[in-house]
């Protein structure tokens, strides 16, 4: 069971890259795990380490002094494009991120992130540029993220509003996951199935193949 999502304050990790794809977030060769262990180390792996596993020079933003422990990733437009691998939000969460701020997300990434306590916040391009300028100006700027209120509180006291899918928000605030909700819907699912015969039977004896 996930924890209820509480409001929090954190400094920001800024990553000025657009269209960051899931192969950058977790390279595919680390998808051979059968659990969720070790993902913090492989987050953005190929932007952080060389072949031998040594830190690249210059250091990637995540590994710069003072970045450890920050919970907000501020990143360029259209984050999480590519694969459906949930390893991407697992790795972000394992590193400690509780929110990402971008102008937009790939659909599957957004859905996966919301199920793992990583809040994908979308802001308009001006606000986005403003946040980058703020962090450029003072890399230790702190933001306060309040999901219940749907707001980001800036150091100057102003608040930026954001929208989250109402249902996903409820799940996050309660710390429940969707599977419980869906399991409660089983009677409705069964009723639907009673009037909609199965379309295929994957176990039925396959007749001779011979076509491609």
């Amino acid at each position: 069971m996930p924890e209820p999502y509480r409001s929090f304050s954190s400094k920001v990790v800024p990553l000025k890259a657009e269209n960051v794809d899931t192969d950058q977030i977790v390279p595919a060769r680390y998808l051979k795990i059968t659990d969720k262990a070790g993902l913090a180390e492989v987050l953005f792996r190929d932007w952080r380490f060389d072949e031998q596993g040594c830190f690249l020079d210059p250091l990637f933003v995540l590994d710069k002094p003072g970045m450890a422990g920050r919970n907000i990733l501020l990143v360029g437009a259209n984050f999480g494009t590519g694969s459906s691998r949930e390893h991407a939000p697992w790795a972000l969460a394992a590193w400690g991120f509780k929110a990402v701020i971008s102008t937009g997300y790939a659909d599957i990434f957004r859905s996966n992130a919301l199920k793992n306590g990583v809040l994908p916040i979308s802001v308009d391009p001006e606000t986005h540029a403003h946040l980058f300028a703020l962090v450029d100006d003072d890399p230790d700027s702190e933001l306060r993220i309040d999901l219940a209120e749907g707001g980001i509180l800036l150091p100057d006291g102003t608040t930026i509003g954001f929208d989250v899918d109402t249902f996903a928000k409820l799940m996050l605030l309660r710390g429940t996951d969707e599977i419980g909700y869906l399991v409660e819907k089983l009677p409705a699912i069964e009723a639907w199935e009673a009037t909609h015969p199965a379309r295929v039977d994957t176990r039925s004896e396959a007749r001779a193949t011979g076509q491609v």
Binding site: A17, E18, N19, D21, D23, Q24, P27, A28, R29, L31, K32, I33, T34, D35, K36, D46, E51, G76, A77, N78, T81, G82, S84, R85, E86, P89, G104, Y105, A106, D107, I108, S111, K115, D165, F167, L170, E178, I179, Y181, L182, V183, K185, L186, A188, I189, A191, W192, E193, H196, A198, R199, V200, D201, T202, R203, S204, A206, T209, Q211, V212
Partner: protein, 481 residues
Amino acid sequence: MDQQRPRTLVEKIWDDHVVAEDEGAPSVLAVDLHLVHEVTSPQAFTGLRERGLTVRHPERTVATADHSVPTTPRGLPFLDPLAAAQVQQLDANCREFGIPLHGIGDPSQGIVHVIGPQLGLTQPGMTIVCGDSHTSTHGAFGALAFGIGTSEVEMVLATQALLQRRPRTYEVRVDGRLQPGVSAKDIILALIARIGVGGGTGHVFEYRGEAIRALTMEQRMTICNMSIEGGARAGLIAPDDTTFEYLHGRPHAPHGQAWDDAVEAWRRLPSDADATFDTSVGIDASALEPMITYGTNPGMGIPISSRVPDPAAAPDTSARRALERALEYMDLTPGQAILGQPVDVVFIGSCTNGRISDLRLAAAALQGRHVAESVRMMIVPGSDEVKREAEREGLHEVFRAAGAEWREAGCSMCIAMNGDQLRPGQYAVSTSNRNFEGRQGKGGRTFLASPLTAAASAVAGVVADPRLLPGIEAVAGIGGR
């Protein structure tokens, strides 16, 4: 529900599968078919066990091992203990929960998006999900098919349903006739170059128009496959006689009276004449030339005879920065021709272009020719069945005589999880779907293109225009059926 309102194909399928809709909550959508593979399922099965749940409909679920399997001869052991453990885990999970598995050694093993259609499991009007973003492939049959994350895999295993918000609709109209040497892959690469990798976010594509109608099922699959690269979670094509012909007689397709009834129902699926879409884009197929990507996302594509764009001409700072970064990674010069760019590896395969017709095109281009000295060419069939068919037709002899490697079925160098990979700095022309940094091996550089362009480039040793290969105009089935 107002049945009089004209509806699109996807709306019809959606309405037919909504189980419940609570105020403020996403719809509960019933799932007809759940495809499972080794990479995105282990944690879902663990979750089921932890919650004391079981697989509700193993007979609506089917599994295969594809992503991390070696494509070396099947008798050889896995060299990678992690990959071996993952495939064994899938085997154990399927056995425990009674899910049919087309694993290694099974004659139906192959890439999950190749075997679904091949077995006749993919049918019009269905909802199909898989923990894999290229599930959009199955949309070619007029099914609503999309990728899901591992949490959702667990939900579908447990309930055979999913929580989803109704998607917006996006018409992709492709009119005109393709020129010789130009194929389905070029249509989809042109679309993504036009709308960008986020262009379809929140939408489902419906591909329509005379150029789409003229395509074979395998070509339609190539197009729907890459819907996700345009940001759309799914992409559909209305079922028609081409669809029914392809399906008829396949192992899991209905037969006898059930077949006739099914076809009758499927004929009602196409979008109503006066249905409207939220967004629309038009492409003239007759104006397309072979497409190729030069950058590090599938939207960075150009017609093969044109030049690599100059970041200085980018519309804004962030676009300029992205382009600069991509060209630096690719080690290409702004304004250079892409034709003539040296190539180290050519990969033909994947769920985009690893089907028998793709291999036939590659063979036609390689017939009587030889792969350039400097090039390693790998040809990886999308499934074991594709491999057998290619061998029945003698295509493997053409490949071997040309100096290409003919391998076992799997995802292979599309995702480079199984040891088939580029070395840092190498250039590949690849028929797969993603050219992200390191996608085909850390430091590797990918040009995405059609099987014809890939084969022509293998012969030339540089990026080459397939239209210039002597005799290639004669290759049947390029422009249409």
